[in-house]
Symmetry: C2
Subunit: 349 residues, 2 copies
């Protein structure tokens, strides 16, 4: 039927990175919202909070004292989900009860000594220093030969489970490949074997030609709403150069990545004039497990807000039991993000 229109009709889209499908219901934004309204997060934090375990010179749960740091500050998570000294072992009862020991290291990175900032309120130079720390940490963690995967991420905002508003991120490194990374490994490998090219390089070339889903680009990175986005304003930062991990970024690329993060998160904050919550994180090559030439570094942003600063998209019921589902198209979201200013709304006041 020639009447089928992605802008109007319910359809499924393939996530080429994971192989999963998502359901898109473009007509569904007309639904009135009578459900849960989130509280707007208080946004008047002091530069220094004596009760914050991330502020310089304060005490932490393990009894130690934070240094009077100036840029970033990295330490091992006092409540790590993965531990260094877990004994090896496992269980397999008739292939029905199957478990494996997991070993790992969890670190916390304070992005700034300033309790009141967030990434979009920091300068490109300051964010570039955070990128430096991510690169160093990746290198350091990869030096443990048993570590196979390093997940760098940030939870921003209390509706994203962030338990401290001081700007910070986390790294969880472990001895096995997490589910999402295993899927992306398989899909990128398949494409590379079939075509000899990077899946994301080919995808990015097509998107840059079309422009429908591109939000902006700088010399080294493009920011776009992926065709298969699940979250309302989900985006990806993709490196224009095909590198397998953050290890290979040059100084110039690191500044360009900081620029991309800054401009994207400012647009996010400007969307509903609120500190925009999200979970964000990098996907990159596994380590200490041979060559993965097909892996292409990228960073995902998964923000939950849908209609306003207080109405989010719920991934529940149908989504948990059956299939992720979204109410606006990726193209609509990209257009909205493209139209937003790159001057932070608070800097305008």
């Amino acid at each position: 039927d020639t009447n089928f229109d992605l802008k109007e009709h319910p359809h499924s889209r393939l996530n080429i990175l994971t192989g999963d499908w998502i359901l898109v219901s473009p007509h569904r934004t007309k639904r009135p919202w009578q459900g849960k309204v989130e509280a707007v997060q208080a946004d008047d934090r002091p530069q220094y909070d004596p009760a914050c375990y991330l502020c310089p010179t304060n005490k932490r749960a393990d009894g130690s004292e934070n240094p009077d740091y100036k840029g970033s500050f990295v330490f091992t998570n006092d409540y790590s989900s993965l531990l260094l000294n877990t004994p090896d072992g496992g269980l397999n009862e008739d292939e029905l009860l199957v478990a494996n020991s997991q070993k790992g290291i969890c670190r916390v990175i304070s992005f700034s000594p300033r309790h009141d900032l967030t990434l979009p309120q920091m300068t490109t130079e300051e964010i570039a220093k955070v990128v430096d720390v991510w690169q160093n940490e990746f290198q350091d963690l990869a030096s443990y030969p048993w570590i196979k995967h390093i997940q760098i991420f940030e939870n921003k905002g209390d509706i994203m489970g962030c338990s401290n508003p001081h700007p910070h991120g986390q790294i969880w490194a472990q001895n096995s490949l997490p589910v999402e990374v295993a899927k992306e490994t398989q899909q990128q490998k398949l494409h590379f074997e079939q075509r000899g090219t990077s899946l994301l390089a080919d995808y990015l070339a097509l998107e840059l030609k079309k422009q429908d889903r591109v939000v902006f680009e700088n010399e080294h990175f493009a920011v776009l709403v992926p065709f298969w986005a699940v979250w309302p304003y989900e985006t990806m930062i993709i490196s224009k150069r095909h590198v397998t991990s953050i290890l290979y970024f040059t100084d110039e690329e690191k500044v360009a990545l900081a620029d991309a993060i800054r401009r994207l998160t400012i647009r996010y904050d400007n969307m509903f004039e609120t500190s925009f919550p999200y979970s964000a994180g990098m996907h990159q090559s596994p380590v200490n497990s041979g060559d993965h030439p097909y892996w292409h570094w990228h960073m995902h942003f998964y923000p939950p807000l849908l209609r306003s600063a207080t109405v989010k998209k719920f991934m529940v019921g149908y989504e948990m039991l059956a299939n992720p589902q979204r109410d606006i198209t990726a193209e609509f979201a990209a257009e909205k993000l493209r139209g937003l200013s790159e001057v932070h709304y608070k800097a305008r006041e």
Copy 2:
């Protein structure tokens, strides 16, 4: 190492139904919670709310008027995510942009004319009538030859995206297999081909022998915390008889299912003496697509509360980018659920 202990050490567990792994961090409950605290949902609703689009005799968005119904009431969702008249079509640009038209029917089922009730506050007889409606709806929707999958589910509580507290559930039926159902189909098929038995029948037999994760059972159903549970107090209802779908339940089995749902949801409400939020839904055989003798009917309950009526588990950051992760073991959760009364805390007052 013989020191490895599932009760103490971080480990991964295999979900044999989907093939995915989950990360368990048993030691992590010691972490103090400084993050988001949910509002306790108001729980003093009138029996009839003139503003509710589910109450008898009220007006709905499409202008129609609800009948003065006595048991359950079913109608087509006024804001359906899937529509009946979507034209066929799709897109495939170089295997990079791939989409397919989706056609379906979304229905809403009011469980009771009473605005103030929830399933755990209804009688077994009343819930058995809801089970009847589910069976009839399944049969009716399966009579459309193009429908391949029927998802019956309930979102309960506003933190689960439920936009109306009137007791109700939904059914989304569509022309393709959702991701989660496709995974369960594959895993059950594999097991059936290898052993000639139902994966869940074999799993259930093992669990009933061990008892570690069983919450309770009646003549026809067992309720347990699956070995691979992701949500803190996640459970499954599994039918003791291997049937592929709700179509095949006898009258006696339908009453037993109502009994299982009632007793489970009462235990849930008693956990934190609050109306316990969850998304719940059945998984069963695809329809109109040949025989699926390996499919074994079951029902999942995914409740988010972790520590109290106001502190939930956030599936964010690491979980979205890498792998689901939980802080208490399935065995601990089962023990807690086993210890709870089957008399609703409100009925005790």
